[in-house]
Every structure is written in structure tokens, then in C-alpha cells.
């Protein structure tokens, strides 16, 4: 089951943000998407996840066309994304945010809300245990009962990641998961991403500017420049590619 993009194009007025991108991202591999600021990476995420459908081209996941589907439907098919700016559910605690992500829609009905159903409770308890385990893995167990708007930017980034995992994804789409995260936690994050992929076959598509983080964990790297795919290949090959070096020179953050 792969995520397949075919000649995906997205323009904003005169700006071609994504310029006929075709690529295959295997569902069980870690794929990196890199490129300088404004290259169109987030726009591509928005196109895939239904937040901002492409003007042209097709996107499919497994044997399903997903372009044109509403975001919640794309998510239901197992493609769970995070956001570059980690605002989150501001007034919910970390625990509540994670439980919300883990709640399937048959538990979220008015009938269940009125206490007339029994299915919710068992599910809730299992999710709670998962949330505690996951936050421990990410070094944020002590933050479970802290409200999202009281977290540091780095911790909110980790919450974005943890939250998407709670939703039982088939593939993760992470928009700059390591930005603002403390170095020690970046190590935990990359280990977890790698382990999820190797042990459970849960792949991800990751945007980030932290190349050393990405090059360590990615199986495959795609380089986007001004909307178009500049190069694709394994990390070692990309690192040695002179075009890629040129695009990044002077634009890489210090």
C-alpha cells in the first residue's frame, strides 16, 4: 500500500507552489521530504490530506483515489498528519488530547454521550494506558495533565507526534516534527519513528530542515525546490548530489 502522487499541481494566483510532482512513498518506509523555505512541502501535505486539494493530478493511497476527499475521510483511511505550527487543542490537557485522538467515531455519538452506551468505557481505559506508555517513550510523562497552551513549543511538537500515533495511522505525515524540540528528545523521536517502521511497518513521510535527523532515519529522500522535484534517492546519494548542495547553500539555517 503506497502513497502515490501523479503530476500533482497546486497554484496560488501566479505562484506555482507545487509543480507537477510525481512520486511514490511506500506505506512501510520512512520517506523524507526536504527543500528550502517556500519550496512547497507543506502545500503538498495540504494537497494529500484534503485540506487544500490540488488543481490537477491525482493522489492515491493503496487502491483508493484520495484527492478531493474531505480531510476527515483521508484521516479515516489512515493518513494522519501533523501541523508545522503546533497549536493543538489549546484548552485540552496532553492526556485529553491523546484520548481524543484515540477515540473512534462510534464512541463519539450523542447516544454514547448521554451514557446510554457501554462501549466507550473499555475503549477509554485501553487508550489511557497507551497514552501513558507513549508519553513515557517520548520523555513527557510528567506533562500528561498539563494544558496544551501551557506547553513549550518543543513539547507541543512532541504532542503533535504522539497525538497522531494515538489515532492508529497506517502512515504518518509529519511536518517538521523536530523543529524546536530539545536535542535529547530529537534522539527519542528518531528512535521511535525508526522502531515503528521496522517493528510495526508504520511508515512516515517527514518534512524537516534538520538534515542530520532526517538522513539518519530516512530510507528515501525527495528534494523539492520551487515546487518541483529536484532529486530523489537514498540519503547517501542525496547527500552527495551537487544540485542539492547548491539549493541548500546559504539557505540552510546555521
Amino acid at each position: 500500500m503506497d502513497l502515490v502522487l501523479t503530476e500533482v499541481r497546486k497554484t496560488f494566483g501566479g505562484v506555482v507552489a507545487v509543480d507537477d510532482v510525481s512520486a511514490v512513498m511506500p506505506q512501510d518506509k520512512v520517506t523524507a521530504l526536504i527543500g528550502p523555505n517556500g519550496a512547497g512541502k507543506t502545500t503538498l501535505f495540504n494537497a494529500i490530506t484534503g485540506f487544500d486539494p490540488p488543481d490537477r493530478g491525482s493522489i492515491s493511497f493503496g487502491d483508493r483515489r484520495i484527492d478531493g476527499l474531505p480531510p476527515w475521510r483521508v484521516a479515516e483511511l489512515g493518513l494522519i498528519r501533523t501541523f508545522q505550527t503546533p497549536v493543538g487543542f489549546t484548552t485540552l490537557t496532553v492526556r485529553e488530547s491523546l484520548l481524543t485522538a484515540a477515540t473512534p467515531h462510534f464512541v463519539e455519538t450523542p447516544v454514547q454521550a448521554l451514557g446510554l452506551g457501554r462501549r466507550a468505557r473499555g475503549h477509554e481505559r485501553a487508550s489511557e494506558a497507551r497514552a501513558e506508555e507513549l508519553t513515557a517513550d517520548l520523555g513527557m510523562a510528567d506533562l500528561l495533565d498539563v494544558r496544551t497552551d501551557e506547553l513549550s513549543a518543543g513539547d507541543r511538537k512532541l504532542l503533535e507526534f504522539a497525538r497522531s500515533l494515538m489515532a492508529e495511522p497506517k502512515m504518518l505525515l509529519l511536518d517538521e516534527p523536530a523543529a524546536a524540540v530539545a536535542p535529547a528528545n530529537i534522539g527519542r523521536l528518531s528512535q521511535l519513528v525508526r522502531r515503528l517502521c521496522d517493528e510495526r511497518g508504520l511508515g512516515s513521510l517527514i518534512i524537516d530542515h534538520n538534515l542530520s535527523f532526517l538522513m539518519q532515519i530516512a530510507d528515501e529522500v525527495h528534494v523539492l525546490d520551487r515546487g518541483a522535484l529536484l532529486a530523489s534517492g537514498p540519503p547517501s546519494e542525496i547527500a552527495a548530489n551537487p544540485d542539492v548542495m547548491r539549493v541548500y547553500l546559504g539557505e540552510e539555517q546555521p
Partner: protein
């Protein structure tokens, strides 16, 4: 000062407003849908109830003369239906347009009541509405019966809304209110849940309508002017939008305050001045409450989530290592 019957009436009215404010909190506090159409929904529920139970001798075109115990749930359901008819189009709009649209729908309902005089008796209104246990308890003593009914209704409303608020449904509702994009990215059917919530609030308001009718005894379209909506909103804001107990507390504070202002003894010649400054005093109360408690008397923060941390803090700072099992134990109760 005044006789106890007066205060029984005040508390009855407060309990009715408390029920409405708690229902409003479900859609506006947790659902984030700022509804200015409470008066319209209350009118829909009230007229449904009155028509279904009306005395056939009044000459209304449709008067099945149902028992009040049958008409009561039917009115609640009918109000839910009306809420669906309003919510389905209005929820496509962004917040401020939604606000205006709900206000407009409420006025449309009121005008419909006036125009459809064959069914509603229009501006003539309907007097002497039947009340439960009317034949057993008469005269002034009935006020106590009414207080019990209103208090029971408020208690049930409190339990029901608390259950909704602390359920996974309520949590996702708050989540989607905080950040719709994230909720969608997690596969939440945000629009559907909002319509369900809007209808649910409509049903709760419709269920309160008969109690309101027992209190006022006679119905006419003027009763359902937007003033009711603003009183309910004021009560909820004073009590704490999004908190579980806010509507309850806010309504009692507001209604008792307002009625007490009405008791101030003035020279009959100046009574119109008192009437004129009454809204100002209510405004002053609102400003004072929000000055010292910006989230209202009760806050959403105290109602959810952070309760655990407070409990943990209260249970003493044993070894830090023991804090995780504590949290887990409390979570599973």
C-alpha cells in the same frame, strides 16, 4: 422583607433560566457555536406544547388535546427538529454569520407564530395553561409545587449536561472548538457532530419550555423577544462559559440580583427611572464578575482535565516517583 412566595417565584424563574443556560452551554461553551436563537427554540417548544395540550373549546384549528405527559417529550423532539432545520444551513457559516443567522431565525419563528393565528391565536395569546398537579394543590401553595418541578428540571439538566460534557463526545466537541483543523486531521466528523450537538441543545431547550409555561401561565408571541436569549447568555457568561456548573450558578446570581433590584423602594414618581437603570445594574454586575473572575464564577479549566493535577497536589507531595501511579489510579476510577 417581602413575602416568601415572592422568593419562591424568583427561585423558580432562576431554576428555569439555569436549565436554559446549561443547555446553551452544551452548544456554545463546548461546541463553540454561539447561538443567539434561544428565544426562537423556546418559542417552538412552548407553542408545540400549548397546541398539543390546548382546550379544543379555544377554537384553534389543530387541538388534539393530548395529555401533558405525552405533549412534553413531543415538544422536546419537535424543538430538536426545528433546531435541525436552523442548524443545517446556519452551521455552514462562520461564527459571526452563524450568530446573526440564529438571531434572524428566532425572529422568523416569532413572526410565524403571529401570522399563523389559526393555529396559535397569534397576538391574542392563550391564557390559563394547564399545569401538572393543578387539581391537587391550589392557590398560593401551587408556587411550591412549581418550584419543585423547576428545581427537578434543573437538576436533571445538570446531570445530563455534565454527562455530555465529560463524555468522549463532549471532549471531541471541545477539541474541535479549539482547533478544527487538528480535529479534521484526526478523522473527526466535525460538521456532523456540531449538527448533532445543535439538535441536542434544541431538544434540551424544548424540554425546558413546558416548565417555563407552567411558570408564566399564559403564552403570547411577545414573550419570545430576543431579551430571553440575552438573559440566558448573561447568566452563562457570569457563571462561566464552558464550565459544568456555570449556567446553574450564573442564572441564580443573575435572576436573584435582577429581582432584588426590582424590590428597591422608590417614590412611585421615579419608578420609571429604576426600570431604566436596571439593565445598567445588570451590566455592572457582569463587568464586576468578569473583572475579578474573567472565566466566570466557575471556569472550564476547573471542570475538566486539570482536576487531576489539583487532586494530586492536594494529596500531598509524596515521593515524585509515586505521582505516576496516583495519576493512573485516579484515571481509572
Amino acid at each position: 422583607m417581602t413575602n416568601p412566595i415572592f422568593w419562591v417565584g424568583v427561585l423558580t424563574l432562576a431554576a428555569i433560566y439555569a436549565s436554559l443556560a446549561m443547555a446553551l452551554n452544551v452548544e456554545s461553551g463546548w461546541g463553540g457555536m454561539w447561538d443567539l436563537g434561544i428565544a426562537g427554540l423556546l418559542a417552538a417548544g412552548s407553542y408545540c406544547y400549548v397546541i398539543l395540550t390546548a382546550d379544543p373549546d379555544l377554537g384553534m384549528r389543530f387541538a388534539p388535546g393530548l395529555s401533558m405527559w405525552v405533549a412534553w417529550p413531543l415538544s422536546a423532539l419537535f424543538t430538536g427538529l426545528v433546531a435541525f432545520a436552523i442548524g443545517a444551513p446556519a452551521l455552514r457559516l462562520r461564527r459571526e454569520y452563524f450568530l446573526i443567522t440564529t438571531l434572524a431565525f428566532a425572529e422568523i419563528i416569532r413572526q410565524l407564530v403571529v401570522i399563523q393565528a389559526d393555529f396559535t391565536r397569534g397576538t391574542l395569546g392563550i391564557p390559563n395553561i394547564n399545569r401538572p398537579f393543578d387539581s391537587f394543590v391550589t392557590g398560593r401553595d401551587y408556587n411550591y409545587v412549581l418550584l419543585v418541578i423547576a428545581a427537578l428540571a434543573a437538576a436533571v439538566m445538570y446531570l445530563v449536561t455534565r454527562q455530555i460534557g465529560s463524555s468522549p463526545f463532549g471532549r471531541t466537541l471541545r477539541a474541535a472548538r479549539d482547533n478544527e483543523a487538528v480535529a479534521l486531521a484526526l478523522g473527526k466528523r466535525v460538521n456532523r457532530m456540531r449538527i448533532q450537538t445543535f439538535v441536542l441543545a434544541g431538544i434540551l431547550i424544548g424540554a425546558t419550555a413546558p416548565v417555563y409555561l407552567f411558570y408564566i401561565r399564559a403564552i403570547s408571541p411577545q414573550l419570545f423577544a430576543p431579551g430571553i436569549t440575552f438573559t440566558v447568555w448573561t447568566a452563562l457568561v457570569i457563571g462561566g462559559l464552558g464550565s459544568i456548573r456555570g449556567g446553574l450558578a450564573g442564572a441564580f446570581v443573575l435572576i436573584v440580583f435582577t429581582e432584588a433590584v426590582g424590590l428597591i423602594e422608590v417614590d412611585p414618581a421615579h419608578i420609571n427611572i429604576l426600570v431604566a437603570i436596571e439593565p445598567m445594574l445588570v451590566g455592572l454586575l457582569l463587568v464586576l464578575v468578569l473583572r475579578f473572575r474573567p472565566d466566570g464564577l466557575f471556569s472550564e479549566r476547573d471542570s475538566f482535565g486539570s482536576r487531576r493535577t489539583q487532586a494530586e497536589r492536594a494529596s500531598g507531595r509524596a515521593a515524585t516517583a509515586s505521582s505516576r501511579p496516583t495519576a493512573a489510579a485516579q484515571a481509572s476510577d
